[in-house]
């Protein structure tokens, strides 16, 4: 299509006006997020490179001490560097607990999603309702509910004592196991929902085709069903892993001071007389891990969309 210069100039002016108009529509939301989320995060980055104040807070002056403290401690006697075992244990525990939570929600969540997705359409909605209610229920309330079951004088112990299976209450609270049970309980719906969506989209005629082509049940599951459910499973795992890694409320109630996680460690550093630059460095590290996981997922999803059309 031939164009004369004035028309082209006219069009680019129209486009500029459009761009300006639409940016101004988004501006209020962008301002709020910039001021209340991006700017504070920037402050955290800055704090991680400052010196620790005497009574908490920070002092002006560039320092890598905060970042050093994430990985290394000074030895109490000879001032040499030794690995910061206390922190690193907590970080390792957080990663392992988050992975274990993901695995457990996988074990329980995938059969559940399959079960719901294969109900007749009329009853499917009711099963979905049962999964969405916990999803929408306050996390704190759900943690209180599971805590009540497993605490020393909780329901489970009283039941076991009454039946004579045990003589004194099992101490299950404030252990890694308690945190794991609690997190699996609260994050389970996050696994079920995306996996359910994936199974619901699955064309069961493909399974029929696989059986027609002499596949056994297991072979069909491995070669046809699982690969096509995979995007949903990956999405569910990311949705569980990320909040589990940064969890604060559940480990605090279920783990207390003995089974602390990354989020609780960060919170601890910002108390009175603690090391703010270290807390800031721990925060940034956690953020980087989470963003890394998301970017990995987004890349994968984009690649999957490309190959599966």
């Amino acid at each position: 299509m031939p164009r004369n210069p004035t028309a082209a100039a006219n069009e680019s002016a129209v486009m500029r006006a459009e761009t300006r108009r639409r940016w101004s529509l988004a501006l209020p939301a962008l301002t709020v997020i910039t001021l209340c989320s991006i700017l504070p995060l920037g402050v955290m980055v800055a704090y991680s490179f400052m010196e620790a104040g005497q009574y908490g807070n920070v002092q002006w002056g560039f320092s890598l001490e905060g970042w050093r403290a994430v990985f290394l401690d000074r030895d109490f006697f000879d001032d040499s560097y030794i690995p910061a075992t206390a922190h690193l244990t907590i970080l390792a525990r957080s990663i392992l607990l988050a992975l274990a939570t993901t695995a457990l929600t996988f074990v329980f969540g995938i059969p559940t999603a399959w079960f719901i997705a294969t109900r007749p359409p009329a009853t499917r909605a009711y099963w979905m309702f049962l999964i969405t209610v916990p999803f929408w229920t306050n996390l704190l309330v759900r943690t209180i509910a599971i805590q009540e079951v497993i605490r020393a004088d909780g329901t489970l112990n009283r039941l076991l004592l009454a039946t004579g299976l045990i003589d004194e209450p099992l101490q299950m609270m404030f252990t890694n196991g308690a945190v794991l049970v609690g997190m699996t309980y609260v994050y389970l719906p996050l696994m079920v929902l995306p996996v359910y969506a994936a199974i619901e989209k699955f064309d069961f005629r493909l399974a029929e085709a696989a059986y027609d082509l002499h596949a056994s049940r297991l072979y069909c599951l491995r070669r046809v069903v699982l690969p096509l459910m995979w995007p949903g499973i990956v999405a569910g795992s990311i949705l569980v892993f990320i909040p589990a890694l940064g969890a604060y409320v559940t480990p605090r109630l279920m783990g207390g001071g003995r089974a602390m996680m990354w989020g609780n460690l960060i919170d601890l550093q910002f108390g009175q007389g603690r090391n703010w630059p270290l807390g800031a460095a721990l925060s940034i590290t956690l953020t980087l891990v989470v963003v890394g996981a998301m970017v990995w997922y987004a890349r994968r999803a984009a690649k999957g969309a490309e190959t599966n059309g």
Binding site: R22, T137, N138, T155
Partner: protein, 267 residues
Amino acid sequence: MANKRFDVTHVPGAATIAIVTFLALYIPVLILVVNAFNGSDTAGWWEGLSLRWFAAALDNAAFRSAALNSVIVALAAALLSTCLATAAALAVTRGRQIKGQGSIAVILNQPLLVPEIVFAIALMVVLAQVKQVTGYQGLGYLIAAHTTFCIPFAFLPIRARLSGMDLTLETASMDLYAGRFYTFRRVTLPLLLPGILAGFMLAFVISLDNVVVSSLVKSPGQETLPTYLMGELRRNLTSEIYAISALLLFASISIVAASWVITRTKQ
């Protein structure tokens, strides 16, 4: 199996695990509700059905003020974030690609990318300075904080609704002599309303549920329901806590049920 259809949807064991999962999800919640209705002084001993702990909670001024704060913050944050998210969604979903459109979407989702505890602590650190400078100690901080993390949640359903909407409807409206604003009011907004409603509800629930951000951002003496609960938990597990938890649970169930009924009647 002899005279049954060869069922491709059947996987042995799935139903069993699913039923176990549903029981595991609901039994603790049921126990909590039962405890809330327990007339006994000490949690754990059943002494008949009673509403005394609900009465005790409602009688408690601290609970009442926390509940009021929660509702005010949730309503304000949901309203603000829905408005902001609607405008932003209109900016990034309609019409031609504009310069920087991708970065708008990334910024809008930024609060989701940051772990909640990090977001809360960073905001706490900054707001501590603001509080010192301005001396203001009111609910505004909580509303601002909640609005921020509610924006991406409100944005999600609104954008989904918008991108599923036929752009030619707006062109048709313009063709029928409607101006930009008239088109928005008579065509875009009514079609968008279910998305906006969903966004509002999502934001409201997310705000109502928040513990971490609220407990770090609130000013001394200020409580929302979850932070009040958290504080009480630090002391002891009382039947009053179960009663308050049960109230929050009923609130969630009614909200889900309401949205469920709305979406089902629409279909």
